[in-house]
């Protein structure tokens, strides 16, 4: 198989103007373009969320600091959480799914291209609406009308009584709107994977990335609706005088928590399962071995999907549920550790006996393995309810979930960026700068999030704009803040690398990594129709079969 790049001869066709180019991007229904739009959108909002985090950390660098007022601080942590979950992590998940799924299953596009575009623009509008809130109210001073109720917006703080301005409304509407986009994309993913695989690609022969995105999409379909429902109820309370969460009229604050977390817990699995997908594609290629235990990996993923819908109240151990209820949720929470651990062991077994090439994508995935292990173990600690009665709602929890989301999810996303950047752009990124990004970010990540566990153990709750000296929290907060700057530096190197490489990188060819799934069989970047002829496959690694005709996979599967 040739991997030379194609040099198009100069033709007589005039170059398109900037306006025509932009028009094409804005009206595109091509899954690859929409995927890139999602990813670029996410990177922009990653910058916003990062600035918000930096403001938080500067305010907390020492006790009784006055870098920002309490009102601004409360808007910062609310916006940081809402931005990162709904307008960074979700778009990244959908962006990569959009780009990769049709290519990896040998299809020409997603099942419903126009729905795809609609979904993207709904998400984009949601984020814009959220940030427009800064301009409301008193304008930027005091951070306008930006949401300040926490990203999970507990009732009755969000009622008209306690949230008189429009900050809650911006939170509700921006997330509601983007939720429709999310469900649309999920429906698209499911219909595409079930209905558009190329000939020979049975469900048991499709790449693990497809299986994991299918599971993720199933969770989206089931889990986003509870949030939508709860938000509609909150709107009824705020604008039609309803009493869903109005405790003065017999309403319940706890029922909001139930509805929110019935969404909220599956949501974090929606974010982490695609991260598992990237690890499952990258680790084999850079270990030069097939993934170990494919059927078990599929089964474990589906198990995780199911169990994740039954653990939600571990976010509510302190609200006064009965001991029976608390005990049940301890069991389901700890149970989910079993299939998750199985996956870690299978990745380890994939590397075992292999030949590991430590290119940038693999560096990020190896760090992911170490970090996700730790994150999972602190999760088990939190899952033990009495321990959670001390550690819950403290900086220990913040450290835990950032360990998962940054140390687990963001690390694999970085790995995925580097791995598929050659495919998307046709150019190789600069490997030295890739490694620099990795090391800067790893140092910063560990400075911030390792030490962040300690204030939690020493009694520091979350969502406080300042803290008292003399509680033993000062030095740890200082170290945590220092780590932020290393992470920021890493991200700047990353963006710089991608930008520079896009214009000046070496041509990558169709298969720079000597990989085995279908996206590497087409050019980099792929033509708009993906494949000249729809491929036909006989095993899970069609390109391995082509490259090793004497020892094809289908003899062993």
């Amino acid at each position: 198989m040739s991997t030379q790049s194609i040099a198009w001869p100069k033709s007589g066709v005039a170059r398109r103007t900037l306006v025509e180019n932009l028009h094409e991007w804005v009206t595109t229904v091509d899954h690859k373009r929409l995927g890139i739009l999602y990813i670029l959108y996410a990177l922009l909002f990653l910058a916003f969320g990062g600035v918000e985090a930096t403001i938080i950390r500067i305010q907390l660098i020492r006790p009784h600091n006055d870098f920002v007022s309490p009102q601004v601080f409360n808007r910062m942590f609310t916006m940081h959480g809402t931005t990162m979950i709904f307008f960074v992590a979700m778009p990244l998940v959908f962006g990569f799914a959009n780009y990769l799924v049709p290519l990896m299953i040998g299809a020409r596009d997603m099942a419903f291209p126009r729905l795809n575009a609609f979904s993207f623009w709904m998400t984009a509008f949601g984020g814009t609406l959220l940030y427009f809130s800064f301009l409301g109210g008193d304008g930027l001073y005091g951070a306008g009308n930006a949401p300040d109720v926490g990203w999970f917006a507990y009732a009755p703080l969000t009622s008209k009584t306690f949230s008189r301005g429009h900050s809650t409304d911006y939170w509700i509407l921006s997330v509601l709107v983007s939720g429709f986009g999310s469900v649309g994309t999920a429906i698209n993913i499911i219909a595409t994977i079930l209905g558009m695989r190329c000939r020979g690609m049975t469900l048991g022969k499709m790449p693990l990335l497809a299986w994991l995105n299918l599971t993720m999409a199933g969770l989206v379909v089931l889990a986003i609706s509870p949030l939508t429902a709860a938000q509609l109820m909150l709107l009824v309370d705020r604008y039609l005088g309803g009493h869903f969460f109005d405790t003065q009229s017999g309403g319940s604050a706890v029922i909001w928590m139930h509805f929110f977390w019935i969404f909220g817990h599956p949501e974090v699995y929606i974010l982490v399962i695609p991260a598992f997908a990237f690890a499952s594609e990258i680790i084999p290629v850079f270990s030069r071995k097939a993934i170990f235990g494919y059927p078990i990996m599929v089964a474990a993923t589906v198990c995780i999907g199911f169990i994740s819908m039954s653990v939600w109240a571990h976010h509510m151990f302190t609200v006064g549920m009965s001991s029976a209820a608390n005990t049940f949720f301890v069991l389901s929470t700890m149970a989910i550790a079993v299939p998750t651990g199985i996956k870690i062991f299978n990745w380890l077994a994939t590397m075992w006996g292999g030949e590991i090439h430590f290119k940038t994508p693999m560096l990020f995935c190896v760090a992911f393995l170490f970090q996700f292990l730790i994150a999972g173990l602190t999760g088990v600690m939190l899952g033990s309810a009495p321990f959670d009665w001390q550690l819950g709602n403290s900086y220990f929890v913040i450290a835990h979930f950032h360990y998962v989301i940054v140390g687990g999810i963001l690390f694999t996303f970085f790995g995925a960026f580097y791995y598929w950047f050659p495919k998307m752009s046709g150019r190789m990124y600069n490997e030295a700068f890739g490694k620099l990004h990795f090391w800067l970010f790893v140092i910063g990540f560990h400075l911030t999030f390792d030490f962040m566990h300690i204030p939690g153990i020493l009694g520091m709750p979350r969502r406080i704009y300042t803290y008292e000296p003399g509680r033993g929290w000062d030095i740890w907060n200082l170290i945590v803040t220092v780590g932020v700057f290393f992470q920021a530096a890493g991200v700047l190197v990353f963006i710089g690398n991608l930008l520079w490489s896009y214009f000046r990188g070496k041509y990558a060819g169709s298969d720079p990594w000597d990989a085995w799934t279908l996206e590497w069989s087409t050019s980099s970047p792929p033509p708009s129709y993906n494949f000249a002829t729809i491929p036909e496959v006989r095993s899970r690694r069609p390109l391995w079969d082509l490259k090793h005709p004497e020892d094809p996979d289908w003899q062993y599967e």
């Binding site: 009755p156 030069r288 302190t318 009665w389 001390q390 009694g459």
Partner: protein, 320 residues
Amino acid sequence: MHPSLSPTNIFAPVSTPAHSIVDLSHLVLMVTAAVFVVVFSLLAYAVVKFRDRRKNDGREPAQVYGSIQVELAWTVIPTLIVIVLFLATARVIASIQNAVRPNNALEVTVIGHQFWWEYRYPSFNVVTANELHIPVSNPAHPTPTFLTLLSADTDHSFWVPRLAGKTDLIPNHSNSMWMDPYETGPYLGQCAQYCGTQHAKMLLRVYVDSQEDFDRWIQAQSRPAHVAANASEGQRIFERTACVNCHAIAGTSAKGTFGPDLTHLMSRQTIAAGAARNTIGSLIAWIYNPAVIKPGSKMPAMGLSTAQAAAVAEYLVTLR
């Protein structure tokens, strides 16, 4: 961990619930540490042993697709670990949540407000705010304190790490927790559920007193306010401006319940739920403009002049 590391260290328990949690945490930490060491070592070993040696001979390593025995092993062992942790946890949940309240338990009702704590001792008819006093408990003959947790507005959470795990205060939803501290002393904590602008300064101070000290304290609290022979200028201002709409001073015309009860204000070491020390200077500053000390507090600046604020503070200082 030594308490001197921090006055709010969860690993320095002085009460049974906090202690049970520390005991459970030892098991959980040992198990998770063991898992960590095993898996971390395997990962580290793999990363070192199987790194690419640049043989460049174009051959791929042996492709291994799976192994049922290995999968079984690393399914069964974690499942057993989960079962053990679950059973240990279930026992502690029951021992804390289903503890029977003995007849000699002290009962306190805690009502969370934005951004202060109200304490009522129903059997003594005492209402106070922000600084909780409870008697020490002898492990041989325990005299625990049972708290009933309510809220007047949004969600709050009562967290004094050395005494117990946190329990939330949720409007229209009564919760309950208990503690039986066996060492006297002041214990610190703060609200642990985001409740609005000044969540950060809704601090907790719990004084565990000897039985005699507690009896003396509760007796003093149940008496009406110390009344001067002639109503001072400050008292007149207090009773004629809107102060009485929010604050109560037993034995006077002030019967407001929106803000903290001030009958024995000077028995407390801090004001504004721990946001400032209880000195005449802080009182004047607070009365003049609460937003300087605690911006977002529900107490508005009452539009008093500095002289008037000083006079009111002089009056309040008499409320021992």
